[in-house]
Symmetry: C2
Subunit: 134 residues, 2 copies
DNA sequence: CATCTTATTGCAACAAATTTGCAATAAGAA
DNA sequence: TTCTTATTGCAAATTTGTTGCAATAAGATG
């Protein structure tokens, strides 16, 4: 995956720097999606400003995607860097269950082509109460 | 719908006030989801603080739901006040296409029960390029 | 309609989150 | 190693969201 990063950056004038590496690693090592400030505290070298700038860059390059986490926004690695999946999220205890569903992926394509849309990304999330909290 | 609001508020000590009415109307008249600050600027009387407080209240009462819009968070009326739907959103021109899909609704229930989840809410969004921008 | 209770508001003051300008730094090409 | 310039860190400015509290006004009551 480190190699993939290089490939993406190599093409046009983008540089693989220390902050970018660190932020990527933080995201990579995390199970759950992280907020900007969580990423910031997990970074020992990268500056707060760099976190924001890097997140925006990563998002533009589709390296990460933002997911709605409760009332706020969090980030996690996107498709090429993590197996594509969606979330069931418990609004009570915060528990996150990863979900893979061919049906959804299929539906995305069907719906998109029906609307003459070129898909670059999609989100699907179920919120509710988990087994333990119901 | 104004009547529905009353019904909800009447039950327990909640009052229908000017700011609340205004914010509800702003949301109601908007095609696309709005951010807190957009709502704020659309309100002539309601104060910024009231916007936040009302948004939280409305959310607690399931009058609105928050949707992921591009990079940030926005709000729109929820099911009883607007027909349940999802979005195809063009990352180029910002165009939003409403989508209703029985398949998705069905899938939500199937997946949830498979995971012993009680669904309270769900989101589905397709991002990409619209007909005009592709 | 006048009165009374108290939920709700606006405002000012805070606190947190995000953005911006710019000189110093360091990728990475040559 | 040298050179170009993308990127960083830092400080300052904005923007966004929160909190305490006295003033206001729903709406219940008579
Ligand atoms: Mn996940
Ligand atoms: Mn819509
Ligand atoms: Zn739970
Ligand atoms: Zn478009």
């Amino acid at each position: 995956m480190e190699k993939e990063l290089e490939t993406i950056f190599a093409q046009q004038k983008l540089r693989i720097t220390r902050p970018r590496r660190e932020i990527f690693r933080v995201l990579q090592q995390s199970q759950a999606p992280l907020s900007a400030s969580m990423i910031n505290t997990h970074c020992t070298t990268a500056d707060r400003t760099s976190v924001y700038r890097t997140l925006e860059l990563f998002h533009r390059l589709s390296i990460i995607k933002s997911v709605q986490f409760g009332w706020r926004q969090r980030y996690e690695l996107a498709d090429p860097f993590k197996i594509h999946h969606h979330h069931l999220s418990c609004t009570q205890c915060g528990r996150l269950i990863d979900l893979q569903s061919p049906e959804i992926e299929n539906l995305v394509n069907v719906v998109a082509s029906q609307n003459n849309f070129v898909v670059t990304d999609h989100t699907f999330e179920i919120r509710g109460l988990c087994q333990d909290c119901r």
